[in-house]
């Protein structure tokens, strides 16, 4: 199935939940609200003509331009994206779902933005979501075991955020 057909099928199934779509990108994608993510993902996995039964990866992307000279040219508002790359093993097609988030929940620095966890739909999401939580700072609600996966449990901050400050000291070890 081509990506245009996937998008059409998805629109007939849950049209109102699709916020925007792009069929011309190299990886065609749809954008959904965090609240609608679970319903859309369930459709993507279970619809007999979609059958996107495999989750390849989850990425957290931080859109933030720190250089004041480049902000005007950056072409985006500061925000966070979670990207789900899916593929269907039986039907041999793939698809991308994106969720847009504020960088901080309610614009209060330190409050992580929330997305429902898809670990119940694709078990592979479990560790991917832990990694996104660890490095990009996205709170996955309903995740079975949301701990840091790479960094130490008592680590402060989320290093792949663009405004992350490197620690000067960690347990008595000089940081730089």
């Amino acid at each position: 199935m081509t990506s245009t057909e996937i998008i059409t099928t998805l629109e007939t199934e849950c049209g109102s939940r699709i916020k925007s779509k792009n069929a011309d990108a190299i990886d065609p994608f749809v954008v959904v609200e965090p609240g609608d993510l679970l319903a859309v993902c369930q459709t993507l996995r279970d619809h007999p003509r979609l059958k996107l039964d495999s989750l390849n990866c989850i990425s957290g992307v931080d859109y933030l331009e720190l250089d004041p000279k480049k902000i005007a040219k950056a072409g985006f508002e500061p925000h966070l994206e979670v990207v789900y790359h899916l593929c269907s093993i039986s039907l041999k097609h793939r698809f991308v779902v994106k969720v847009m988030l504020p960088r901080w929940k309610g614009d209060k620095p330190g409050e992580l933005p929330e997305v429902p966890s898809v670990a119940g739909i694709w078990p592979a999401a479990d560790w991917h979501e832990r990694e996104v939580f660890d490095l990009s700072g996205v709170m996955f609600t309903g995740h079975p075991d949301l701990r840091r996966i790479l960094l130490a449990d008592d680590w402060v901050g989320h290093p792949l955020r663009k405004d992350y400050e490197f620690p000067l000291e960690y347990h008595g070890i000089r940081g730089r």
């Binding site: 960094l151 992350y164 620690p167 960690y170 347990h171 070890i173 000089r174 940081g175 730089r176």
Partner: protein, 210 residues
């Protein structure tokens, strides 16, 4: 002395107990199996038959720190690993030695600037005896580092600590034999030759101006 009988030609040698101990110790440095990143591959190469660290008595990689004398920290040490490195070091019996192998363990290496989670040198965590730079160091470099550790062991005093010793400490010096065109009996002249050679090479390597 059953183990030594008939193994040598008719001969005799004198030594001190201390040197005997040092000889025995330096010839059986048991390293710990402990690779953290890409440098570990090079350490394994040194353990293999091509470079064969066993020739120098350091081929018995032990899987536990309690049987090891030498910790070759081969690879990137990150903050999470640092406490483990420290604990493994504490579990090793004395006398113990540490080789910092690779740029990462010497001072952060490629991750010095943007590695948020990398310890900038393993000497911030455990005391280091020998540093081997390189990314990764050649196997020969690791062997050379082992020789430096052995020199150190050979110079250690157990029984006559603090007393003057009149026996010279035999050591591999690590000096490189220079090709004849760069060498001279007079060290000043030799240095001049080497500087001139280095200068010429630098000019050769400089990009030509268009």
């Amino acid at each position: 002395m059953g183990w030594v009988e008939g193994r040598f030609e008719e001969n005799f040698f004198v030594t001190t107990i201390e040197q005997g101990i040092a000889w025995a110790r330096e010839s059986s440095m048991w390293p710990m199996t402990f690779g953290l990143a890409c440098c570990a591959i090079e350490m394994m190469a040194v353990g293999g038959p091509r470079y064969d660290m066993d020739r120098f008595g350091a081929g018995a990689f032990r899987a536990t720190p309690r049987q090891a004398d030498l910790m070759v920290v081969a690879g990137t040490v990150n903050m999470k690993m640092a406490s483990r490195v420290r604990r493994l070091y504490n579990q090793m019996p004395d006398p113990k030695f540490v080789i910092a192998m690779g740029a990462c363990t010497c001072g952060g290496g490629p991750y010095y600037k943007y590695g948020y989670n990398v310890v900038k040198g393993v000497d911030l965590v455990v005391p280091v005896d020998v540093y081997i730079p390189g990314c990764p160091p050649r196997p020969e470099a690791l062997l050379e580092g082992l020789f430096r550790i052995q020199d150190k062991v050979r110079g250690m005093r157990y029984l006559t600590k603090g007393q003057a010793t009149d026996l010279p400490i035999p050591a591999r010096t690590g000096y490189v034999l220079l090709p004849p065109e760069l060498d001279d009996p007079d060290p000043v002249k030799a240095l001049e030759k080497q500087i001139a050679w280095a200068k010429m090479n630098k000019e050769k390597a400089a990009p030509t101006k268009a």
